[in-house]
Amino acid sequence: MRLLTHNMLSSNIKGVTNGFPLRIEVEKVVEKEVDLNMDFLRNMFAKIEWKALVEASRTMGYSELPDDAESSMLDSDEFLRKFHHALLELHLEEGALVCPETGRKFPVNKGIPNMLLHEDEV
């Protein structure tokens, strides 16, 4: 799972109101190179929860993203490269996603988060 996916996913446990962002527990991160698509990044920037992306990428061992970002930064190639890398090239391969409200862990194996709920969580 890449951080773009993480950036839109909330804890889905019944009754949880602050399920975003899911905390990440890392066992293994994999990096895979992807072509940079400038137009895509510009479009995405408006939709991304920046703070969540910064925090998630740091947990994954990448701390190049600035704490705050604004759209004027999209003119910088260097910024775009970092944004691209954090968003699309880091994969959480093994670990867990943790509900920020309840601490419930959703395991991630082979890159796939298991968000299935137990009966009493639906």
Binding site: L4, M8, L9, S10, F40, K110, N114, L116
Partner: protein, 221 residues
């Protein structure tokens, strides 16, 4: 990419090993899958406001992705980020192998679509072949309502032709779609995967729909 070429690539993908009846697991055949996806870029050209098409450079979700055919087709047609959602781990594993085979990066999430929580409008385009609800009544409507909630651009979906009026009414009135259109009517050969299917293939009339979610609804405080 040519239609035939896409069909060829999709035809080489691995399909369900031991299909689970209760989940309505049968492959979205390459013939139908390639046509479903292929109409997306060409259809959207008609839409003046959408200069990119619904797939190329987009964030695409495949709901009930099974072995991944639809999502991978989107990837082959240039989607920037594809996420497959399915309740069944074994199917996702096959889908993931298929992605490797095609050298595509596709993310997967194992979840029940009915209680998925994604940010509203986080996805540009949802493509899906939902369970038709032959096993669990209304299963396809659960998928459709969620798709119209998370998509900002368009939802492409297959539903039984017999339910056409119901789908249209519900999508427009209850799921807040701003348009709901049948692009084509297809014959869907559901192969005899299950013992209770008497004939070799069950021929079902299926509509290919394009829904547009309503992005202009009043924002709640």
């Amino acid at each position: 990419m040519k239609l035939k070429q896409l069909e060829g690539l999709l035809g080489s993908l691995q399909q369900f090993e031991t299909p689970k009846i209760e989940l309505e697991q049968y492959p979205t055949g390459p013939h139908i899958a390639s046509r479903l996806l292929y109409t997306i870029p060409s259809f959207s050209i008609i839409q003046a406001e959408n200069s990119f098409g619904d797939v190329s450079d987009k964030v695409v979700a495949d709901f009930g992705c099974g072995c991944g055919t639809l999502g991978l087709a989107a990837g082959l047609l240039g989607a920037e980020h594809v996420i497959g959602f399915d309740i069944d781990a074994e199917s996702i594993e096959i889908a993931s192998l298929n992605a490797d085979e095609l050298e595509l990066d596709m993310d997967f999430i194992q979840c029940d679509i009915r209680n998925l929580r994604l940010s509203d409008r986080a996805i540009d385009t949802v493509v899906m072949n939902p369970p038709f609800g032959t096993r669990k009544k209304g299963a396809d409507m659960d998928f459709l309502s969620m798709a119209l909630k998370v998509a900002s651009g368009a939802v492409y979906s297959l539903h039984k032709t017999t339910t056409r009026d119901h789908i249209k009414r519900t999508a427009l009135r209850e799921y807040n779609a701003s348009s709901a259109e049948v692009l084509s009517e297809l014959r869907f050969d559901v192969p005899q995967l299950y013992k209770f299917h008497k004939k070799k293939e069950v021929d079902v009339a299926v509509d290919l729909w394009r829904f547009v979610p309503n992005n202009n609804r009043p924002k709640h405080l």
